[in-house]
């Protein structure tokens, strides 16, 4: 927990009263995209709406809400806003609470569950891996545990993305200052090689990651993705309409092992999309679990 906040007297704290239309935009973004902006993120949301309004030449949030809700090209505009919201979201060791929960709670649980099996294996799928920061981060995290918690356990990471340029970038595995700014010197030295002023992921980490292009709506190929313990799918589903989202989530459900976990982006929710996955609370983050029971593969919606 951060220390006891502000030192200003209470009388000087002016309450930030959000615009009523901004609150409606927040609800709309949550309903359609499943991503929630708590109060302290409202200024951010307002700023991102402001960028779009400037672009469109729209004067007020009230008019902008119309652009998102009643105008014929509202879906296009929503995607444009979501792009603004998620821009610059990808870098190494992003969403620390999620990675800590994986390391401290999820991995020990899976290792214990597999302890009686003759061969222990951990498979993770980074669905919508963008330019590769997420799968390589996961590979590094697992490699760091290889001599301890994951001793005697093989592991690999499947990474997929729809965008060919992102997949090519991920395969190249070379990153600039922005993407690598949260790396500790120790991790930087151990898993990266300097290459023309940029950082290239080491062979050791690359060996654990398989990258390929995949459309999450391609039913045939999605059916072949199976046997995963954990799926990461951050800020990807927010771009899908409800029907597609249900379809993809059902594929994820079928792709997971019993007791498998699905991690979504920060403040991203499956509410109203799927009843099979159960929300679980982890230290300062949330995930979804398939639960204990081995259920039969579900038909697609």
């Amino acid at each position: 927990m951060t220390a006891s906040a502000t030192s200003r007297p209470v009388s000087e704290i002016t309450a930030y009263t959000p615009n009523a239309y901004l609150l409606r935009i927040r609800d709309l973004v949550y309903q359609i995209a499943g991503i929630f902006h708590p109060d302290h993120r409202l200024r951010f949301l307002e700023d991102r709406c402001g960028r779009r309004m400037k672009e469109l030449g729209v004067a007020s949030l009230r008019d902008y809400l119309d652009c998102l809700s009643v105008k014929p090209d509202r879906q296009v505009e929503l995607v444009a806003l979501l792009n603004e919201i998620t821009v610059g979201e990808t870098y190494f060791f992003r969403n620390e609470p999620q990675l800590e929960a994986l390391r401290k709670v999820i991995l020990p649980g899976i290792v214990e569950a597999q302890s009686k099996l003759p061969a222990r294996r951990l498979r993770i799928w980074s669905a919508g891996c963008s330019t590769g920061e997420e799968p390589y981060t996961l590979a590094i995290l697992l490699l760091e545990e290889a001599k301890g918690l994951l001793e005697g356990c093989t592991f690999d990471i499947q990474a997929t993305d729809l965008n060919e340029r992102s997949v090519a970038h991920a395969k190249r595995g070379v990153y600039g200052e922005y993407a690598t700014r949260h790396l500790t010197p120790q991790i930087r030295g151990k898993y990266f090689v300097e290459e023309d002023g940029q950082l290239s992921v080491s062979m050791q980490a690359r060996a654990r990651v398989t990258i390929q292009r995949l459309n999450l709506l391609d039913d045939n190929r999605m059916t072949s993705m199976s046997g995963f313990d954990i799926i990461f799918c951050c800020n990807v589903l927010i771009y899908f309409d409800a029907a597609s989202k249900r379809r993809v989530i059902q594929h994820f459900y079928n792709s997971l092992m019993p007791r498998g976990y699905l991690f979504l982006g920060h403040a991203e929710s499956l509410f109203g999309i799927n009843d099979d996955f159960q929300l679980v609370h982890l230290p300062s983050t949330t995930a979804y679990t398939k639960g204990e029971r081995q259920q039969e593969r579900r038909r697609l919606p």
Partner: protein, 298 residues
Amino acid sequence: MTPLSREQIFKKLEGMENMPSIPATLEPLLRYLSLPVDQLEVQKVVDIISHDKSLTVQCLHLANSPLFCRWQAVDSLRGAVVALGLARMKEIALACSFMKMLPKQIGGIDPVIFWEHSLGCALVSRHLARKLNLPNAEKAYLAGLLHDFGIIANVVVLPKEFGEALVLARAREIPLHEAELEVFGITHAESGAILAHRWRLGPELVAVISGHHTPELATEDRSLVALVNIADLLCRMRNLGYGYAERRLVNLMEEKAFAVLVEDCPTLQDFDWARLTFELDNYMFEVHRLVAALYRIQ
């Protein structure tokens, strides 16, 4: 030093000679506020409160806090009482007294953290009570606020042992009541029950204080106890705990308290728990701000 037995600890708790006493204003105020609402007069409440300088100041600050009211500035005690509402005076008076009782240091840890946890739990309890359509959401607020009452008893009676429990809980990232059991054999729920009786907090609050970690055993006020249990758990998992995150996975649907609540409110299963969880981040900011303000004027 040989560790104390449970009997010895209970004896100490019941003796509690150095236990902070009830502030002088509290009893007359609570007695007056227990009258039927239509018999209450604002001026009478103002008269009682005005005897207590720190309570007066706190009422003014609360009335001006964005957490409670969002209209124009309040600069008189009477204005503050009107703005906050008579129904809320009881919880505010109790909260202020509760806060004053906590020593400045708890085994080297800032008491602000406990107070923030209590206030966070109060807000979440009220939020849930409204969602559940419980008859009295303000009661849930009060129950959430005071659920960890027993920590005061432990801090005063067993300062060394409680400090150790806190260190252990933080080091191993386990729930505080488990560490208490391990270090000195009783939990703040048990000691809280003794202190709550002494303060004559009423059967509902006693049920919550003594049962919030064992909701399945509660016989009285089961839904209120279960509700506070869930609110407490959500706060602890979301940065509003005792200054650390517990290393565990919680599936609310599998919690015993959840089963109790679902009996009263079957729609709870369809409730958007994800959104509520994200909304806790809102509370966190408000709580930090409010507690920081209240602590400075104590």
